[in-house]
Amino acid sequence: MDITEYIKLVFTDYTLRTITLGTAILGAVTGMLGSFAVLRKQSLLGDAISHAALPGIAIAFLITGAKDSNTLLIGALISGLIGTFWIRGIVSKTHLKSDTALGLILSLFFGFGMLLLTFIQKQPNANQAGLDKYLFGQAATLVESDVWTMAIVTGICLLVMLLFWKEFKILLFDADYTKTLGFNTKTIDVLITSFIVLAIVLGLQTVGVVLMSAMLLAPAAAARQWTNSLSVMVFLAALFGAFSGVFGTAISASQNNLSTGPVIVLVAGVFVLISFIFSPSRGLLFRQIRFVKNRRDLELHKTLAFMYNIAETHENVSHPHAIKILNNFQGYTKGTLQKLVEKDYVKLTGNMWSLTAKGFNAASNLYNQQNETDE
């Protein structure tokens, strides 16, 4: 199946269209809200919340006995919120650290959820089959109404975010200042956290409990590398998230036996990897290039300064010297010498070098500058 054919299929085939749209919207909303989670150093909160949502799903099913995805999601939302606020309670009221609190809530809630799930499986209710799809998610079960729910929630998130943009932003970067300005930080905080929980719960059906945290983190971590502005970061994260959804769906649709959730997570991981390496200002590649360039510049300056020290002792600055005497000097390479020649600082005649007047000037200025900065 080639690409144009696939794209045509996306627009005509009901299932594929629904899934692609669903994962794209999901990626966008998690990327958007994930930016806040990442910047608030709550990256692993997503992991804890998504695990903590599991018992909520099971209990909602036990109460209603039906597998309506909306009621299950409400159950997930409630238990996710309970988990989140319990984590806060542990961190603020006891001396246990946040990592312990996260790990505790994550594993305990999840274990309890699994107990309920296995308990439900033994019940004589034919409806129960498929509840375990919430573990790893199954994008194929998405129907149009699910996509509508996602779209509506995304719309609400976007609206609230635009309304409270200033508050969110200031709380993110300077919580104390926000408080002194008279904002109700607690309310804003609860608002952001609740939306993060909401985004996670939305994704459970598609990506599943275990991998949902990556959906929250990866697009945001990738977007962070390209910009220092919050609005650009949120926008980029939404974009990366949406593309991870679309590409992930495409890849998993083109192969047998590939579940959508893990593929989407891996695609998002590729985005992160690319961003880590190739981002112009922070990326590892350009950082290395800058590093090498700086070292070369330094070596060039060192060589020039060394030559200047030799030339200084002669009346004629352009008095030729043997290249050999440079050999003992660390930082000298043929390359640097060649560069000095290119800059017209040095003249080469045979195996002798001589400083030009321009080179001497540059070197003495370099020397002065160094003196100034030393003082």
């Binding site: 246990l96 790990g103 594993s107 893990p262 590892l284």
Partner: protein
């Protein structure tokens, strides 16, 4: 109890002990989430190891998977070192990616691998007694019992041998380094033990329960004591108790053993979290309330000492003057009266001699901030004890 039941409880208890020991140090070193990362990211290691060895219980597979766990730690640390993202983000990025690879590997080779994702998450403790280790035709017990048993033995040996080093490096990294214990060796040693334990326990109890067994008993014990040895013993105790209780709950509900052990762990934690004597939530809230009242009382006494005018000391006036609610001022008045600090005549409050002396002392303390001043006040005053 059939012998299978005893064996299951034995395996569960041994796993609980083997997990509680490294778990205690992980919690103390603020690296609890690393265990979550390891437990997820060993999945591809287990799958690939299985392709090579075709035996889920082979020691080679355990080593291979444990190696993946260490790779996770190294990767996380590498990403942290680049300073591109914060520490916790690094953890959150690495393990879902590795876990996804594992899930995809299982799904792609579903026909060749007798592994399914549910078993990975939950383990198959109920089936553990069926997989026997047979040496020279003699049945010496379930394989997983031997595996977790040897892991526990190694862990215990390492713990006893390096207890001092572990202790020092956990609480004072600088001191440990200056004493000549390499922090890196201890760090990676602990990580290796955690990885091996996770992998060994993984088969029996699944990825999530490993995390629960590592973190929950240690965290529960940490709420009860600040002594490392006591904490280890308590954590081991909580682990064993939950393992055995959990088994019987699962038996009764006919549900997953791993899930019910975790649930019991959760309940134990909840109980301790609520009722621990000095660090439980009820104790903390009570103490905070006491301290609030005591601060109010002190403010009130200072106010009395500063004002001789009758109208400043009228009961009604106090309400308005210090801006307290009725209930609060009444409770503060009662407390002061009960302690013979004040006496009230015709609605006029004045300090008694005891109250006067007490207030002077308190002022002394506030001015000098020297501890000696309050030593004898501590008996009747909660506030200064913390």
């Amino acid at each position: 109890m059939s012998s299978a039941q005893i064996e299951i409880q034995l395996i569960a208890s041994i796993v609980a002990v083997a997990c509680a020991i490294p778990g205690t140090f992980l919690v103390l070193r603020k690296m609890a989430m690393i265990s979550d990362a390891i437990s997820h990211s060993i999945l591809p290691g287990i799958v690939i190891g299985f392709f090579i060895t075709h035996n889920l219980n082979s020691p080679l597979l355990i080593l291979f998977a444990a190696f993946t766990g260490i790779i996770t730690v190294v990767l996380v640390e590498y990403i942290q070192k680049t300073n591109l993202v914060k520490e916790d983000t690094a953890i959150g990025l690495v393990f879902p990616a590795l876990f996804s690879i594992g899930v995809i590997l299982i799904a792609k080779n579903a026909n060749d691998v007798h592994l399914d994702v549910d078993a990975v998450l939950l383990g198959e403790l109920a089936f553990a007694p069926f997989d026997r280790l047979i040496i020279n035709g003699a049945d010496v017990g379930p394989k997983s019992l031997w595996i977790v048993g040897s892991i526990l033995l190694i862990t215990l040996t390492l713990l006893i041998t390096f207890f001092k080093e572990l202790k020092v490096s956990t609480f004072d990294k600088g001191l440990a380094a200056s004493l000549g214990f390499s922090p890196a060796i201890i760090h990676y040693g602990l990580m290796s033990v955690s990885s091996v334990t996770t992998v060994g326990a993984f088969d029996a109890v699944g990825a999530i329960l490993v995390v629960a067994l590592m973190i929950a008993p240690a965290a529960t014990a940490y709420l009860l004591t600040t002594d490392l040895k006591k904490m280890l013993v308590l954590a081991v105790g909580f682990g064993i108790f939950s393992a055995i209780m959990g088994y019987w709950v699962a038996h009764w509900l006919d549900a997953s053993i791993a899930g019910s052990i975790t649930t019991i762990l959760g309940l134990v934690f909840l109980m301790v979290y609520l009722f621990a004597p000095s660090k439980g939530i009820i104790a903390v809230l009570y103490r905070e309330k006491q301290q609030r009242i005591e601060v109010s009382l002190l403010t009130f006494l200072l106010h009395l000492k500063n004002h001789d005018e009758l109208e400043e000391r009228h009961v009604k006036h106090l309400n308005e003057h210090i801006n307290w609610q009725k209930v609060r001022s009444k409770s503060v008045l009662d407390l002061a009266q009960k302690n013979n600090m004040i006496h009230i005549e015709n609605q006029i409050v004045s300090l008694t001699e005891k109250g006067d002396a007490f207030t002077s002392k308190a002022i002394d303390y506030i001015i000098t901030n020297r501890d000696a001043q309050i030593e004898d006040m501590k008996d009747d005053f909660f506030l200064f004890r913390g």
